[in-house]
């Protein structure tokens, strides 16, 4: 069997400011029937654009300028709209990143499922619906006979993602494009979806392009991996070769990131006063408690990682500490002194001592202010420095975060890259000369290489300035890399806490175990092994509480 999909010299332009700029600079690709190709790259690498181009589809403001996309001998670039329409949905299907956004909220799931088969004349509605339920059962969705009659918003994210995979399968296509199908999911949910996708693709011998930025995930799913960098192809090899023996520097550096880990620190002296002490806080939004009796300490020069899935109460804890959400019960003490619950009642020094770095650097920096103003404000506000003194201090801070002061002083945040913006956030926190910094998912919006840089910088600063960090994250790799102590949270409660080493060595609490074991590893056999370990039927149960 010759190749199902053959892409040759594909170049794609994107429009910005009325001019067309190349965003894909010549990519070739071959895909045989039943084969899964992993497309990997950081944000802006053009993964999704290629994925869509493989369907002969371009988004607004994007055009294919050169090359051919031959699907089963038909060039999708030059094919008429009618010809393409006849292929899409029927022979080539698409699974989008966010099922919640990609299901039409106005129609029931099963109606959307049957739409393609009915419209393409593959099957009638009744048969197609029955087939849908069969697929739901195969994908181990709960209540497979009934779930289709719900509206998308009535179904959880992980289930919806599986339902979308089922929808893609509805016409039994030859090729499915998976566009980061698990990126928006929590780790424990990710497993079920990964397993389901792999299983069904294997069962129907469907060829697939699997797009992701996560090496470990792609290792589980793909037969071959293609690495992309800024619209260019870096290298391509079959999965095991690629993992064990990457050729290009870029690929190697990607691999290396995962090995970063800070050396462990000696244990804390018992009896020393923690910098921050969270004492049995219970907090509520409105009338519902979202935190229940949370307690932990953060000692000087230490990093405490607070881990948990979305909705576990990590950020709420941070809000309690900063005083944005005064706790209902319990208190926060700083250097042994109890802080007022509401930040408005705290004095300037108390406010200064605890700073915060945010997840989204875009929303954390005022887009209308220059870097000099952003960093200069706390310098002036807390330290009372003005004019040349202020400028000097800002320059120092910029140097600390490894940015050239004269280049960046007058720039606006929009002129910086994501990593640079995050560094400015750090500098702003440092400007207050705090003892304690809350880092709220500071790396989760960044590409891995950049994230590593930020983590290293934070580590160095800690060593240099003796800072304490509370590190909020859902990513266990990050925890492993930088934490001294770990607090695991679930449903607003602390499930387990202790030094990092203890946490990563069994035995743990069941939830910690689930969390830890769900983090994909770079081993292509990891998923298979894990499924065997857990037992096929238990995968669904893994998502307890995630309905």
């Amino acid at each position: 069997m010759s190749s199902l999909l053959k892409i040759r010299g594909l170049k794609i332009d994107g429009r910005s400011d009325e001019t067309w700029n190349p965003i894909i600079k010549g990519v070739d690709m071959d895909l045989k029937k039943g084969e899964v190709l992993g497309l990997i790259g950081e944000s802006g690498a053009g993964k999704s654009t290629i994925g869509l181009a493989a369907m002969g589809y371009t988004r607004d403001g994007v055009r294919i300028s050169e090359g051919t996309v031959e699907f089963d001998g038909i060039d999708l670039v030059t094919a008429s709209a009618a010809v393409k329409r006849n292929l899409l949905g029927k022979r080539i299907a698409y699974v989008a990143q966010s099922a919640a956004a990609s299901f039409n909220p106005a129609h029931k799931i099963i109606d959307q499922h049957t739409e393609a088969p009915v419209q393409h004349g593959v099957d009638n509605r009744a048969n197609s619906a029955a087939d849908g339920m069969e697929l739901y059962r195969k994908l181990r969705l709960p209540n497979p006979d009934e779930i289709g009659f719900r509206y998308p918003h009535q179904v959880s994210g992980g289930q919806l993602q599986r339902a979308m995979t089922a929808m893609a399968m509805s016409c039994r296509p030859d090729l499915i494009i998976f566009d980061e199908p698990t990126t928006a999911l929590d780790v424990t949910t990710q497993i079920e979806v990964l397993a389901a996708i792999r299983e069904i693709v294997e069962e129907f011998d469907t060829a697939a392009i699997y797009i992701t930025h996560d090496l470990a995930v792609v290792a589980q799913m793909a037969d071959r991996i293609k690495v992309l960098l800024r619209g260019d192809e870096v290298e391509e090899a079959d999965t095991r070769t690629m993992l064990s023996n990457p050729q290009e520097d870029y690929t190697k550096s990607l691999w290396a990131v995962r090995a970063f880990e800070r050396p462990a620190k000696p244990a804390v002296n018992t009896g020393s006063t923690p910098v921050v002490s969270v004492n049995g806080i219970t907090a509520a939004y409105g009338k519902t408690d979202v935190l229940h009796d949370v307690s932990f300490d953060i000692h000087a020069g230490r990093t405490v990682a607070v881990v948990g899935e979305s909705g576990s109460g990590k950020s709420t804890t941070a809000r309690c500490i900063t005083g944005l959400l005064p706790p209902r019960i319990g208190d926060i003490s700083f250097d042994g002194e109890v802080l007022p619950g509401n930040y408005k009642k705290r004095n300037k020094d108390q406010l200064r001592q605890a700073q915060m770095i945010y997840q989204m650097a875009d929303t954390a920096l005022n887009p209308r202010k220059t870097i000099g103003q952003i960093i200069g404000r706390p310098v002036q506000f807390y330290m009372g420095l003005t004019g040349a003194e202020r400028r000097k201090r800002v320059n120092e801070l910029l140097e600390q975060i490894e940015l050239e002061p004269d280049t960046y002083f007058n720039r606006l945040p929009s002129e910086l890259s994501g990593g640079q913006k995050q560094r400015i956030g750090i500098a702003r926190a440092l400007a207050a000369e705090p003892k304690f910094i809350i880092c709220d998912e500071v790396t989760s919006a960044l590409d891995q290489l950049v994230a590593e840089g930020i983590l290293r910088l934070l580590g160095d600063l800690q060593d240099k300035l003796g800072l304490s960090y509370m590190f909020i994250t859902h990513d266990l790799a990050t925890v492993k890399a930088i934490a001294d102590e770990v607090v695991v949270m679930k449903d607003g409660k602390v499930v387990e806490q202790g030094p990092k080493l203890d946490m990563f060595t069994p035995p743990h609490h069941a939830y910690t175990d689930l969390l830890l074991s769900s983090v994909p590893e770079m081993d292509p056999d990891w998923l298979t092994d894990l499924l065997q370990e857990r037992g096929v039927d238990n995968i669904g149960d893994a998502a307890v509480g995630k309905m």
Binding site: D17, T322, L324, M356, M360, N366, R368, R377
Partner: protein
Amino acid sequence: MSGLLWFVAIVLSIALGAHVFRFAGQKLTGNAPKFRDMSYGVAFGYVLGAFLLFWSVWYYFQPKVLDTGVPNAGVVFFRWAVQGFIIASIAAFLFRLFGRVVGTDGSRKLFRSMPLTASFGILVILIYAIIAVFAGQIAPYGQAEILGAANVMAGGDPAIGGDPAYPLGTDQIGRDILSRLIYGAQNTVGIAFITTLLAFFIGGSLGFLAATLQGWLDQLLSRSVDVLMAIPSLIFALLLMTIASVWADRLGIPLTIFMVLIIAVIDSTRVYRLARAVGLNIVVMDYIEAAKLRGEGLGYLVFKEILPNAMAPLLAEFGLRFCFVFLTIAALSFLGVGIQPPLADWGTMVKDLAPFINFAAFAPTVAAAPLLAAGAIALLTVAVNFVVDWMLHKSSGLKE
């Protein structure tokens, strides 16, 4: 009845033409994608457009005077419109060209990405501003100056009571209409501008305050605004203006000042809504949280953190509000309670001159005076809307 038949026949032939057009296109271009994927509706659109174009050209070259000696007013007006459109397009094009060559790097870049409509808008606004500022120098007579001849007809044709000295004629007490039209720019635009500024000052500051402080203040302000907004603005303005007209009389304060206040307050409710909504969007940003946690005061939050980020949507809204205020003032003046004589004002002028429209059929120039006054209102709002539309499109943040 025959008119209806004609209409149906034309539509049918366009429908047929669309079919032929698409078919011919496919054949002639060897099934090029443009024609191959063309839907019938698009083909219909092309043919319809072509038909309208041909019709316009045909109509443009119809004689200006009918065989019966009566002027063909439709053609006259159409020619004016077409000529106006062409001149406007050329002016806008030249202005944009000028902007692309002259000016700072930033402004040149701005002009490069500017659609013709926006450059037309900016040009018109500039011209209005110049006329408004230099009305006294430009206008041949004073706005309240009573000249010898009253009721001179527009057009300067003595045969129908015109006088070349007064190209747009004089009003019933002998004031030059052209001068009043020019002064109208000063009064109407100036007053609308002040009113809008005031509305923004009131609505904007309250809106940001509500967004920042929230709580009971927000509730109180928002509910009050709901109530005010539930009363249709024109009706409310009309009512309040009637009340004010007497207070103005009694207190000896010009009614215009009351009008500015009333419209500003009524309009500030809309500004409040927007400012609050924009403010709320900004207030949830992390940099506001960071500033709050830093211990910054309310003033700093509102003016240094929120306001700069709200400028773009507020500026766009300013344009729209300006148009709205402008039209409200015109409507109030039209209903007789707006800007009071002897100040020249376009709304009042339209009302006063409107009867001439009836005579358009046999003296097209006579109808020009009221149409010019109304057109002056329309042109400015169109221009502002064009610019705002472009700004919104550029920032793309707050479309509708």
